[in-house]
């Protein structure tokens, strides 16, 4: 079956540009997570959705980062006025139920800010 997909796979943005990263979770998965993975580091939690509700956004590094999941399926992570320190791989993961431990990860979007 189809896994978690993310688009674009690669994005180059000039400093100050806005970007939007898309995540298509596995169909029917209730929980959706965004993580940020800097080069040579492990993923770091950004935000969590249960259906369309954003229940945890404690990991968003600044108010330039915004995420939404309006219909409880596809999610978009938006970064406004990108900075060089935003360069990273952004990973999306989904889980079947709100109490499922296992997360299924997408391949990520590699964002490079020049």
């Amino acid at each position: 079956g189809a896994g978690v997909s993310q688009s674009p796979r690669y994005k180059v943005a000039k400093r100050g540009q806005d970007v939007a990263l898309r995540c298509d979770p596995i169909s029917g998965h209730v929980s959706l997570f965004w993580y940020q993975q800097a080069l040579g580091q492990g993923p770091e939690f950004l935000t969590y959705f249960q259906n369309e509700a954003q229940l945890d956004k404690s990991g968003l590094p600044s108010d330039r980062f915004f995420a939404e999941r309006p219909e409880g399926s596809v999610s978009t992570l938006k970064i406004q006025r990108t900075q060089q320190e935003d360069s990273a791989v952004y990973l999306c993961a989904s889980s079947l139920k709100k109490t499922t431990y296992e997360q299924y990860f997408g391949p990520g979007t590699r964002l490079t800010v020049t």
Binding site: Y35, Q41, E44, F45, Y48, Q50, D56, E102, Q103, P107
Partner: protein, 118 residues
């Protein structure tokens, strides 16, 4: 706050030999522990988890891990390594998952590159 340490950036092992990838954790309560594997250009894949019960947990592809509370460790093991096991391995911990409706927010280590050679 919780944290995870993977002390080895890289582990080299010959095919057929046993492998161990080390992980230690620091949490203020009962930990929920996980191992994920990452292949190039692919998403992280779940290998196994420890929630409660038997300290030895078995997972996908012949991997297992042992939870040691006194040493705060959760090392990943496999009795006989394969070249195809070569990948980047991440240990992760969560604390009080699903509390107050929240999700299973994971804190990851920095990863260990496993290289299995013929």
């Amino acid at each position: 706050a919780q944290s995870v340490a993977q002390p080895e950036d890289q582990v080299n092992v010959a095919e057929g030999n046993p492998l161990t990838v080390k992980c230690t954790y620091s949490v203020s309560g009962n930990p929920y522990l996980f191992w994920y594997v990452q292949y190039p250009n692919r998403g992280l894949q779940f290998l196994l988890k420890y929630i409660t019960g038997d300290n030895l947990v078995k997972g996908s592809y012949g991997f297992e891990a042992e939870f040691n509370k006194s040493q705060t460790s959760f090392h990943l093991k496999k009795p006989s390594a394969l070249v195809s096991d070569s990948a980047l391995y991440f240990c992760a911990v969560s604390l009080y998952p699903f509390l107050t409706g929240g999700g299973n927010k994971l804190t990851f280590g920095t990863g260990t590159q496993l290289k299995v050679e013929l």
